[in-house]
Symmetry: C2
Subunit: 221 residues, 2 copies
């Protein structure tokens, strides 16, 4: 390959996106050391770009930056994951409430469509598809709510949970337990019932908390 060294502005984006991807894919594990030189080699970026990218990731809580000791993938404990989910519960409750108040007829139809596809995915045992629809639903509700601040916070919090969400989705029977909860959110928003929508969103995430508590500590590798 030719010397396609990515530089500056773009390098920063490339590196932070690359690390994010590696984190989601599990190619980088919590606690793993992130050496600037290595990263700049793998991503063909300058060390400056790597440095800035690491700062960005640290600001998002994905990476831990210890002075003079470099960067590590941040370790999120089960306890912290639970706290994160508690925050998500209230914030998604807010979004669901507002979505119920504000959604247009087209948006309500789209929601119902997502619900139908979720049913199918679970019926067919399509874990990946269901997982994707899951994200889609949460994003859609946040967007419809018009709560951009809450949406920003939720994105941030979700970013820190990738590892746990993966672990959760793999638990046997999880989809059939979460499906009715998702459908309850959809129905409440569709029915323009803010109180029910908020309650449904909260109930869903409260159940996630229960699953988290039942989760063995993540294997460090």
């Amino acid at each position: 390959m030719a010397e396609n060294r990515v530089t500056g502005q773009e390098g920063r984006r490339v590196v932070s996106a690359g690390i994010r991807r590696a984190l989601s894919a599990g190619d980088m594990v919590p606690g793993q050391r992130l050496v600037e030189q290595e990263l700049s080699d793998t991503f063909h970026a300058t060390r400056s770009s790597v440095r800035e990218a690491l700062q960005d990731l640290a600001a998002e809580g994905l990476v831990e930056l210890v002075p003079r000791r470099g960067a590590r993938v941040r370790v999120v404990s089960v306890e912290e994951a639970i706290q994160i989910t508690e925050c998500r519960a209230t914030l998604e409750g807010l979004c669901a409430r507002r979505a119920a108040e504000l959604a247009t007829p087209e948006e309500r139809a789209e929601l119902r469509a997502i619900g139908a596809r979720m049913r199918e995915a679970v019926a067919e045992g399509d874990l990946d598809g269901y997982s994707a629809l899951n994200r889609q639903l949460h994003d859609f509700v946040a967007r419809v709510s018009g709560q951009q601040v809450a949406q920003g916070l939720l994105e941030r919090l979700n970013g820190q949970m990738v590892r746990f969400q993966f672990r959760l989705a793999m638990r046997p029977g999880r989809p059939s337990r979460s499906l009715p909860q998702h459908l309850a959110i959809i129905e409440a928003v569709d029915a323009a019932d803010p109180d029910a929508a908020e309650a449904a969103a909260r109930a869903h995430l409260d159940s996630v908390i229960l699953e988290l508590r039942a989760t063995p500590p993540p294997t460090a590798g």
Copy 2:
């Protein structure tokens, strides 16, 4: 003065703290341009330090960073301030609920003490004192709740509101309206009534939202 140029690690802290202070004090106004050279002069820091500090502040949402055009103090619209307060309402609701569940007898006593001092401050027309107690109460509840994640988010959100909080506190009659709301939070937490505590915290911030809506757009300077 001798050449006391602050450098590196520390410079970064000094500059970001200095800008934060200037922001609170109103010495820097939203939209104002932040030129790296000027900042490095005023804080006797290197341009590198200034750069890093600006990145930090941008990550916290206090500063807006436009490529090739430099940094500005971020402008928070009334609409955004309302959204921020809506998020605060749910998150402080969570904290109040947990505080009601978890507070030790000593912490409950401390809360009552804060309440008593608030009463006094309002009776004496001590605006600054009341404002300080206000912050103290919110911080205390967040701390007692053990919700460190929520606490972090709240700090972040509050940082973006400094300007508005200042404007609000100055409104005539504001203290006498907010005092009973604060006391309601204190009583509910003290009475170990989670539902009431959450409701009280939400009600308080809902009232802040009403005041925000009645606020004329901030004067740009």
